[in-house]
């Protein structure tokens, strides 16, 4: 069956034979080598880490198992629940859908950088105050998403918050406390900026 939109190439055999004589249709660059392990250097929360990893290790597993940063959680492992949300650069991404080797030379921020128990980030304090968590499993993912949302939209409406957080699932709270926490945190952060 002739395919529309594509010319039938009748000289395929001939072209392969001339490939080594600098046929412009044949890429002249050597293809990069295939590897199964790679040494990577990743900056996580401002600290550089170098490690040799299997190419199929996911970024979330690297953070948890190699770096012992277990604040980032593994939920569904197929990009639906958001429990694994971290920041790559300053944008939220699903770390279960990235391989560690893809984070080579990148800047990663995890929930551990947000605050400490003695010095909670205003967003964390707002979650505490508004019952934005019960079991806490989804919370790091919500925090990392919300921080990025508020950075881009410092005065979100309730509807905007709900849409922005739609990629994070919570089985405990029913979301109302989470939305209120983010609204409250937005005000607190605005107030901090005005100081």
């Amino acid at each position: 069956m002739k395919r529309r939109g594509r010319m039938v190439n009748r000289s395929a055999i001939g072209r392969k034979a001339t490939a080594h004589r600098g046929n412009p249709g044949y890429p002249s660059l050597a293809a990069p080598a295939l590897v199964t392990t790679k040494e990577i250097t990743v900056r996580v929360n401002g600290v550089a880490h170098t490690a040799a990893v299997d190419v199929r290790m996911t970024l979330v597993d690297f953070l948890r198992e190699h770096l012992r940063l277990t604040g980032t959680h593994v939920g569904c492992e197929h990009g639906v629940c958001g429990a694994c949300t971290i920041q790559l650069g300053d944008l939220p991404v699903r770390s279960c859908l990235l391989f560690a080797v893809q984070a080579d030379e990148a800047e990663i921020t995890t929930v551990e950088a947000l605050g400490t128990p003695d010095r909670l980030h205003p967003l964390q304090d707002a979650f505490r105050a508004h019952h934005g968590l019960q079991c806490g499993f989804c919370t790091p993912g919500f925090l990392m998403t919300a921080v990025a949302v508020l950075r881009e939209n410092p005065r979100p409406t309730v509807q905007e918050i709900r849409e922005a957080l739609a990629g994070n699932l919570c089985r405990c709270t029913g979301y109302q406390g989470i939305v209120e926490a983010v609204l409250d945190a937005a005000e607190r952060l605005m107030a901090d900026r005005r100081k």
Partner: protein, 296 residues
């Protein structure tokens, strides 16, 4: 480890990627945004022996105006396109559809080319490409070719891409004269569409001179309805006309039933979304024409 074992390469140019595809094409999968591929790898539903990571190829990240078309590099992130003034001005249909593609975190990594090459039957961007009659630019080892949306989408998750092809660019005619609308019904915000429709209409005063409708979620590929489009030619978009269009759409759409929705539901919703989208697109077109009249 989650995925089955694979070998990995991260080319830094299109030429390097094409060379890898030439050597390993049939055993390899291309990794773009990874938001569709990596779940399949993690669940071992896909077990390619080679992964070619495209994320270091900077030359494929661009949005350009080029002779009446908008040319989008295949590795342009959906998030970038969502915030692009070029897209919002010249491709408002894509700008309206993009916020419905997954969630914000997905759009941070997901790419325009990846979504189109993956060709999920319920995805939004393939329907946008079909409605606007865009083309894709495909680079193989021997030559570059352009394929229209109509020829590109073949079946579920199946396109005109050969094992050693690389989709490098998506080209869409600038929609400066048309009114457009994208509507979708899904159970939750961010889900794949149960039914979605992308509509572009050109109006002359109150009469529609050209209409294009492309549905997603109702078949293996984006579905155009030529009988509905023909029935709109030179008609006013009155309630009566739009009712007729809904009837035509319902009779022409043949969706499957699945766990998310029945075929009857999808048919019914297709007709309703077509009406609403045409109404919105028509009034947007008239507002645009009104603006152009005042300026010109």
């Amino acid at each position: 480890m989650k995925p089955a074992p694979f070998q990995y390469a991260a080319p830094e140019s299109v030429d390097e990627a094409v060379a890898l595809l030439h050597d390993y094409g049939p055993e390899a999968k291309l990794l773009a945004g990874g938001q569709s591929l990596v779940p399949l790898l993690n669940m071992r539903l896909a077990r390619p022996s080679v992964i070619i990571d495209l994320n270091r190829i900077r030359e494929l990240d661009y949005i350009r105006e080029d002779e009446g078309e908008i040319a989008i590099g295949a590795m342009t992130r959906q998030r970038t396109a969502e915030r692009s003034p070029v897209i919002s001005r010249h491709l408002p249909l894509m700008a309206e559809a993009l916020p419905m593609v997954g969630h914000m975190q997905i759009r941070t990594r997901g790419t325009i080319g990846g979504s189109i090459a993956h060709a999920d039957p319920a995805a939004e961007l393939p329907a946008v490409l079909a409605a606007l009659e865009g083309t894709v630019v495909i680079q193989g080892a021997r030559r570059t070719r352009r394929v229209t949306a109509q020829e590109f989408f073949r079946s579920y998750l199946t396109t005109a891409l050969e094992p050693d092809d690389l989709l490098v660019e998506v080209r869409v005619p600038a929609q400066d004269g048309d009114g457009t609308a994208f509507l979708e019904v899904a159970r939750r915000h961010g889900d794949y569409a149960l039914v979605g429709v992308a509509v572009a209409v050109r109006m002359n005063q109150d009469r529609c001179t050209r209409a294009r409708l492309a549905f997603t979620g109702v078949g293996p590929i984006p579905v155009r309805v030529p009988e509905a489009e023909a029935a709109l030619a030179d008609r006013e978009l009155t309630d009566s006309v739009l009712n007729d269009i809904a009837t035509i759409v319902r009779s022409r759409i043949t969706p499957e039933s699945d766990i998310h929705a029945s075929a009857e539901y999808r048919q019914e919703v297709s007709g309703i979304l077509a009406q609403r989208a045409l109404r919105t697109a028509g009034s947007r077109a008239r507002r645009q024409t009104g603006r152009q009249d005042r300026i010109g």
